[in-house]
Symmetry: C2
Subunit: 315 residues, 2 copies
């Protein structure tokens, strides 16, 4: 069990400085996309056996974490892919949090949780606090999580409390990158502002609570903001001056250096760009055919991603 | 692995008929509230050991499920309390789904998930489909889950597909019972309707998709609607004629037979009322002091809950 390492926003910005760019690599393990070198090994070859799938996922993700560590400030572990492997999948998730921490990476648990009262407290305990059980004292919790705002502050407060107490971070979904995002997030409210802008205002309010804004000027409470709509991203950048944005969808989902630009302030700070498939499955992309091994392809894709965002925020 | 048993709404209504009332008992296991008879047993007595906590939770929940089975159409397992017990807690969760099914109860997984694309598909696979792994072929998934609407249809569709394919059910959060619910759900939109009403309209649209409405006239896609605001509940009852409501907050959260009444149609159908703490921790309530054992108190509370709602919908 490690000691709090100060404000999460400061930790994340320091990591970006060290790695050269504000980038996050998303880890979404899908057995059907894993390298042949892994799934051809006997104890990893039978997708119908959950133990084989888990061995393959663990081997792949462990290596990916080591490969991207020099280029990423953090990794984002997507809970859905581990839950689909049942309880042993959850054990694998926590193993990978530890692996990432050991490789000098911050870890964002992409869990998108929210509930109320003691339920939300239990979610925050599970996903942000190191276990209070003595028999799990070597288990490490993620440094930050994603949460859903639909229940209002009741659903988010226990996570924010964990951020205050344990130096952890929270990214509240404000505007997502999917096609149907506007069905709820884009509803126009009575004063003309869409719901996502109102949610952004709420998040900025939570972010400004005492004990959350670090010396860097950013809060441990940030926001998930898609870059699919440049105008909305620019608008939200103004609404939430103290929030770091976690920006999904770079690469495979169609985001480019140009589309993510409005998520940054003029000084080049304010956002962390996430790429998942375009980095971790680079070996399946013809662009990386020239590499001899899947590991080299992943490393090259991580380096390229880092350089693209570094160029964007540096210039 | 069991065969689909027809439309989920029909299954749930048939269960209510059999048990005499449309009631659901919520299972939120908290070690600090468990009966002395359980936590005093040696292998369950040390809360600092996760194994002890899990043994106690499993023993308690197994017994509660057996006690409430004659009085409840379904049990609702709250994922947060199991996630807080890490991977062995998740194994316990699936064990209890099986225990409940074996006791003739339908099971609602209160997971409040939502994500996009393959992530949402993975959540739906984990929480609604029986495992596709041959080594987990005795594992049974819940009959229905709760989901969050903030991402729009992309976040919900994989769950709805599972409902169509496997005879499962989905309850979309529309209006929650907590104090801050209106921060997002209560925002007034440009045409004067609050966000929750717009979400209710979306849910009714999803509920009407082909293959979801059963002979009973209700859809496998329902809604979570709190009864804390009678006018809103009545309004939502009209907006979603094909949706069964899962109504939280009866008992410990302050809901009474009167406050939940607007959630029902004139014919007494349309809602399932949930009570958690007031039933499963009845032995901690002075009202049940006269009973010799905690089991008798829980059974009495379940019977009373059933009778109260039966009287409400019958008259």
């Amino acid at each position: 069990v490690s000691e709090p390492a100060g404000n999460f926003a400061d930790q994340l910005l320091a990591a970006a400085k060290e790695k050269g760019a504000p980038v996050v690599v998303g880890i979404d393990p899908r057995y059907d996309l894993l390298p042949e070198e892994i799934v051809s090994q006997e104890h990893m070859s039978n997708a119908a056996r959950v133990e084989n799938t888990i061995d393959a996922v663990l081997a792949f993700c462990t290596k990916v974490i080591q490969l991207v560590a020099p280029y990423a400030a953090a990794v984002k572990l997507n809970s859905a892919f581990f839950e689909a492997l049942y309880w042993d999948g959850i054990e694998t998730y926590y193993s990978l949090v530890q692996e990432a921490a050991g490789n000098g990476l911050l870890v964002i648990g992409d869990v998108k949780r929210a509930d109320i009262g003691t339920s939300s407290e239990r979610y925050a305990a599970a996903h942000l606090a190191d276990p209070s059980f003595e028999t799990l004292d070597d288990v490490v919790a993620p440094d930050a999580v994603t949460v859903n705002p639909y229940l209002g502050s009741d659903g988010v407060t226990p996570f924010i409390e964990a951020a205050k107490t344990h130096g952890k971070g929270v990214f509240v979904l404000v505007r997502t990158s999917n096609e149907s995002a506007d069905q709820v997030q884009g509803l126009l409210t009575a004063d003309g502002a869409p719901v996502y802008r109102k949610v952004g205002q709420l998040v900025q309010g939570w972010a400004q609570q005492p004990g959350l804004i670090g010396p860097c000027g950013y809060s441990a409470v940030g926001a998930v903001v898609a870059a699919t709509d440049a105008q909305a991203a620019a608008e939200l950048r103004e609404v939430m001056p103290n929030c770091l944005f976690l920006v999904p969808g770079y690469g495979a989902q169609g985001g480019t250096a140009e589309t993510v630009k409005p998520c940054f302030k003029a000084d080049g700070t304010g956002s962390f760009i996430t790429a998942s498939r375009s980095v971790i499955y680079a070996f399946n992309d013809p662009e990386y055919n020239a590499f001899d091994t899947w590991e080299e392809a992943v490393e090259a894709a991580a380096r390229k991603f880092n350089k693209e965002i570094a160029a964007l925020v540096g210039g």
